[in-house]
């Protein structure tokens, strides 16, 4: 625990060989986030409980399940977004690299700089220009070096497949963009901080099919750069973009629990739990 922040850099070498490792042994990809018995409750009532799973580097992990199964609640626990909700209590352990996300000594703002987030609806800052939006996270984090800001902005916009359409109007306001472009701007904004993990909460639910397709392609392209955890209610989307899938379901006590977690292909073709089979075959939810 001398300096957790430099740890991921050493991991990068391994990440380049992710595919080979995966092919050979299937299970040796390094783990970026580890959830151990994670529960989230509001006013003492559990919304999701007892979640244990590993998020592997360079993969897309999808959280699927019907509404009320606690997907979004679980996602927001990962970068301490529940901190702003007084009634919310998160228990269990969440490890980011070897940093305990909820340790007393851990600063939530540093965690959020390492674990970015994209929301259901595009939410670019309306008073900022496109460029200011992209670098806003860096500025919040205290980055003042101008060349670093510009380099990060360009790289993030390229990665979000937005650079070509906005490079000549970086000074115009974000509201001039279409809905799909705004969501890609939000992805660029999250990427500019160079997070290790990117959380996406149903990022296409407010978009049309064409914009959705572009975001999905983006998710797949981005996984070399950042580990992605995506919440989706759309099983086809989970199938298209994710490597591993976690199926959550509301239990008898009205709180979400993890039914099955595994490689996406297996979860959809030969799930072990009958409830997963029913869900992926569209028999409920």
């Amino acid at each position: 625990m001398n300096d957790p922040i430099v740890a991921p850099i050493e991991n990068r070498g391994v990440s380049l060989t992710t595919q080979e490792v995966l092919v050979e042994t299937g299970n040796d990809t390094p783990c970026v986030m580890r959830l151990e018995d994670v529960s989230v409750s509001f006013d003492g009532r559990a919304a999701v409980r007892g979640i244990t799973l590993d998020v592997r580097q360079g993969e897309v992990t999808a959280l699927i399940g019907p509404s009320g199964s606690g997907k979004t609640t679980l996602l927001r626990a990962l970068n301490r977004m529940h901190d702003i909700e007084r009634s919310a209590v998160v228990t269990g352990h969440i490890l980011l690299g070897d940093t305990d996300v909820y340790a007393r000594s851990t600063d939530p703002t540093l965690i959020r700089a390492r674990v970015g987030m994209v929301f259901q609806r595009p939410n670019p800052f309306p008073t900022m220009t496109i460029y200011e939006n992209v670098v806003s996270g860096l500025r919040f984090s205290g980055v003042r070096n101008r060349s670093l800001l510009e380099e990060a902005a360009e790289s993030a916009l390229i990665a979000a497949a937005l650079w070509d359409s906005v490079k000549d109007r970086l000074k115009s306001h974000a509201s001039t963009l279409s809905g799909g472009e705004q969501q890609r701007l939000c992805i660029a904004r999250a990427l500019a901080v160079e997070p290790e993990v990117l959380l996406m909460d149903e990022p296409t639910s407010a978009l049309d099919p064409i914009a959705t397709k572009r975001i999905e392609e983006l998710v797949v392209e981005l996984k070399d750069r950042v580990t992605i955890i995506i919440v989706t209610h759309n099983m086809q989307q989970a199938m298209r973009v994710s490597d591993r899938c976690a199926f959550l379901l509301m239990g008898d006590d009205k709180s979400g629990e993890l039914i099955e977690f595994g490689p996406t292909a297996k979860l959809f073709s030969e799930p072990t739990d009958p409830r997963t089979l029913d869900y992926v075959n569209g028999r409920f939810g």
Partner: protein, 304 residues
Amino acid sequence: MSVTTLDPPEDPVLARRAAIQLAATSSLRRRKAYSTAGIWVCRAFLLIAVIPLLGVILYVVSKGLPAWNVDFFTQVTKPEGIPNGGIKNAIVGSLIIDGIAVAFSVPFGVVGGLFLAESDGRIAGGVRLMADVLTGVPSITIGIFGYIVWVKNVGSYSGLAGAFAISIVMIPVIMRAAETALRGVPGTLSEAALSLGARKFTIARRVVVPAALPGLITGVLLAVARGAGETAPLLFTAFGNQFLQTNPTKPMETMPHTIYTYSSQPYADLVQIAWGTALLLMLVILVLNVGSRLIAARLGRERG
């Protein structure tokens, strides 16, 4: 870590990540201090803003409470030097005048607010502007207006003239509050009613107004609180009366008027009565404010 050096030339993403995380970590102390300082500045300003308010309340309570006894509530005002004076006449007068004013203002205010909420045309814009201007007009102006329109024409000061002037204070407040409350009702409810074959007025009466009821009640109670505290509109209309008067066509005493006249008297017992009245009036307004919130919260909860 010789493995890392064998990697392809430095990955720009990782280099940037390291630089950014270094900047974030090294500026953490400064950012934290800045944020903490900012929050404390907010708290300090809040405190500065609240001190005078608390000061007024505590001062009125400490000065007014000694005036409270049974006579204070059951006797009418008496000239200086005569003991056991009270403000029964002012309490009764205020109740009657404000009651008439409310009965008059609520229908006009709510229906006017409904009109404003339902239309964005030029007429609505003009009415909205006038209502806003009217809420800002010095209340003495409204008193003089009441004098010229009512007292001059009818020929005498009266409780009704006072209620008329207070209504002019209340109507724009109710109207704007009602508009806000009615606009807050989701448009999807109107659409649902529309799709079931309801007409515009039916939708307003059966769907929109009931849904906006918590907000409407809050608005009305706040307007009452506002009107009940006004002094200036009553000076030239209700005038004042040393004796108990329940006939609203005659001049009547009101609580704000008692405070106004007695606080400037050179007699300690009358000034004492003024403090007691100020405390009572303040409590009434407090109860109206808190009550409006409670009702709104309760109705809101009952409807989920």
